[in-house]
Each structure stands twice: as structure tokens, then as C-alpha cells.
Symmetry: C2
Subunit: 205 residues, 2 copies
């Protein structure tokens, strides 16, 4: 198909497609004439995937590039691919809470608690996983609000995360790495949306 068909079928403007081509996010089409390139289903699916990453996952171009490289790298294990995706997702949402001089210690202590908590759950993840820092900062924020609870306030959330992750793994489609990653991003958005809707409903009850 031509670039105009690619645009119509994907809903992505031609100018954006040209930008992706220039940036190397979309592989070039097959040149059929001096100024004419032919695109196929792989371009359409890559384009849709890129749009999910940018629009739904809110990834920057640089993070999109990392994820696309990981998706194309057949030597990566599922876990390694997941690590790249997590890093990209966290990069766009730095969750740093402002810390005063005294509270710097708080973040370090919280980080140690989070590491211990993950060990207790038996979750084996990269020691540098950005989620560890995000959790530590959420913990400091919650404690600063006057919680006297500790990391165990995350227990119900960890339980929910565990069962959803197992469900996600067991219902994994026999698809490309693209499909698997796109599903992850979309399901995460759906979970957040459902959580907000549920809160609105149950708070009224």
C-alpha cells in the first residue's frame, strides 16, 4: 500500500508517518519508483504499536526507540523485554517526592524496606528495577501523611498485582513481542481506569 493508504488504515497522519520514517521508528518501504514506496502489513502493525506506546503509554521518542529495539531483538528473554518496557514506562513518570535534608534518609530506609518486602514476596527482579524506587518514594509519601503503617500497607496491592500478573502470563497470546508489549500497556491503562471508577463508586457507598 502507499503511504496515504497506510495513513488511512492506521489513522496516523502522513506527516507523522514521515516523521517516524525519518527518525527510524518505522522501517522504510519498498521503493517502487523514484518517489514512491510500498508499505505492507508489517508497517501497519509497527505503526499501530508505536501509537500505543506514544499515546497510551505516553512514552517519549527515545523510550519508544528502546522498546522497538528490544521487541526486534530475538535474543532477549521475556523477562529482559519486560525490563526494557518497565524502564521505558517509569522513565516518563518520575515519581520523586520532594525531600528535605532530613527526609533523604527516609527514602533510603524506605528503599531497604521495599527490598525486604519484595524478598518476602519471593519476587526476583533486577536490583536496579525502577519500581523499587517508585515504591520507596510512595512509602515515604504515605508515611509523611501520617501513616504509622509500614511497607505492609502494600500487601493488598501486591496480592492484586500477583494475581493479575499470573493471569496475564497464563493468557499470553501466541503473538509477536509487539503484541505482548502492547497488551501490557493497554491492560495497565485499563486497570488504572477501573481503579478510578471503582473508587468513585465505592466511596459513595
Amino acid at each position: 500500500m502507499r503511504i496515504s493508504d497506510l495513513s488511512r488504515q492506521s489513522g496516523v497522519p502522513v506527516a507523522t508517518i514521515k516523521f517516524y520514517l525519518r527518525e527510524g521508528l518505522l522501517p522504510p518501504g519498498n521503493l517502487t519508483a523514484r518517489n514512491q514506496a510500498e508499505y505492507d502489513e508489517t508497517h501497519l502493525s509497527r505503526l499501530r504499536f508505536t501509537r500505543i506506546l506514544t499515546n497510551v503509554g505516553q512514552l517519549s521518542l527515545s523510550s519508544v526507540r528502546d522498546v522497538l529495539a528490544a521487541v526486534d531483538d530475538r535474543d532477549l528473554s521475556a523477562q529482559e523485554l519486560c525490563q526494557v518496557v518497565n524502564r521505558a514506562l517509569f522513565a516518563e513518570h518520575p515519581t520523586a517526592v520532594a525531600a528535605s535534608a532530613g527526609e533523604r534518609v527516609g527514602v533510603d530506609t524506605a528503599r531497604a524496606r521495599v527490598d525486604g518486602f519484595l524478598d518476602q514476596l519471593g519476587w526476583q527482579v533486577d536490583p536496579d528495577a525502577p519500581g523499587r524506587v517508585a515504591l520507596a518514594q510512595a512509602l515515604v509519601g504515605l508515611q509523611r501523611l501520617g501513616w504509622d503503617g509500614d511497607v505492609d500497607m502494600f500487601v493488598p496491592y501486591a496480592g492484586a498485582a500477583r494475581s493479575l500478573a499470573i493471569h496475564e502470563r497464563d493468557s499470553m497470546p501466541a503473538g509477536s513481542a509487539e503484541t505482548v508489549v502492547a497488551r501490557t500497556v493497554l491492560l495497565e491503562v485499563a486497570l488504572v481506569a477501573l481503579g478510578r471508577i471503582a473508587r468513585e463508586h465505592y466511596l459513595a457507598g
Copy 2:
């Protein structure tokens, strides 16, 4: 305390505090001299809350303003406050997936399915709740990836959202509206982080 103490205790730079004062996000201190204002614990807590909204919730200044006004409005019910917060949170993360001409219909159909699904769950939320659109767009995205499933693919996610919302309501601290909203924002970040960590662990298994 002086503005410099406010800065030290909150970890927020003086320049940022002055900006918040100019923008009306932080109420003025008590003038004790021509160029000297005194701040108290309410300023410190408002400042910390504002930082959670901007840094953790990633809200724009305009959304922060809406949330602060809602938090200060004692006539709002818990549900109304929740609606304002949800609107603010969704405003920063438009989840639109690109739609081709044909797919526009897809989003409308998906929206009807989502509305039916929420009815079935018995969740009574604003007909204009932005979460409905977010879910519909996630559904379209998932179907476009080749899912033949329907909105029922959200069932496990809705189950997790329900039990977390009930837990959140039942463990609600006797605190200010500020505290309640801040907790919501922090716990949502924690849930997302735990979900990503769990995925990294269970994908390897």
C-alpha cells in the same frame, strides 16, 4: 516559620514556593514586616500535597488548581471530590489511540460495551466519567491486536479494582481531604509499580 524554613522543611525550592504563591496555589503567609511573611503547618502541608499532585500525580498547574479548590470546598461529597480528582488524573494522560475512519465506529461500540459492563458490575459513576472513554479505547486497542475477547477480558482487573477500592474506603484515615486525595494518588502509583515488578517476576517463571 519563614519562607526559607518552609523550603527546608518541605524540600521545595524557595523559587518554586514563590511561584506557587504568585499562582495562588499556596495561600499567602502572615505579613510580619514589610518584606517578611510567616508561614505555618498548614502551608507546609499544602506545599507537600501540591508536590504530590505535581510530581507523583503528574498534574498540570491547571489541574492542581481544580483539585485544591475541590479539597477546600467543604460542601463537596467524597464522591464529588473523587470525580474532580479522577478528571484531573485523566486530563494528564489522554489515552486516545489513533483511529482510522472505520475504527471511529469501533470506539463508539466499545464505549457502549464498557457502559454495559459497568452497569453489570453495579458501579454507579458519572455518565461522563473519563474512565469510560479510557476503557473503551483500551478495548479497541486490545481488539485491534487480534483479541477476539470482549469487554469480559477486563473481569479480573475489575475484581482487583473492586477489592482495592473497598480496602481503601474501609481503611480511610480520619484526616483532611488533602490526606485522602494524596493517599489515593500515592497508592495508585504503588499499585502500578507493584504490577510492573510482578510482571517482571512472573514472566520469568
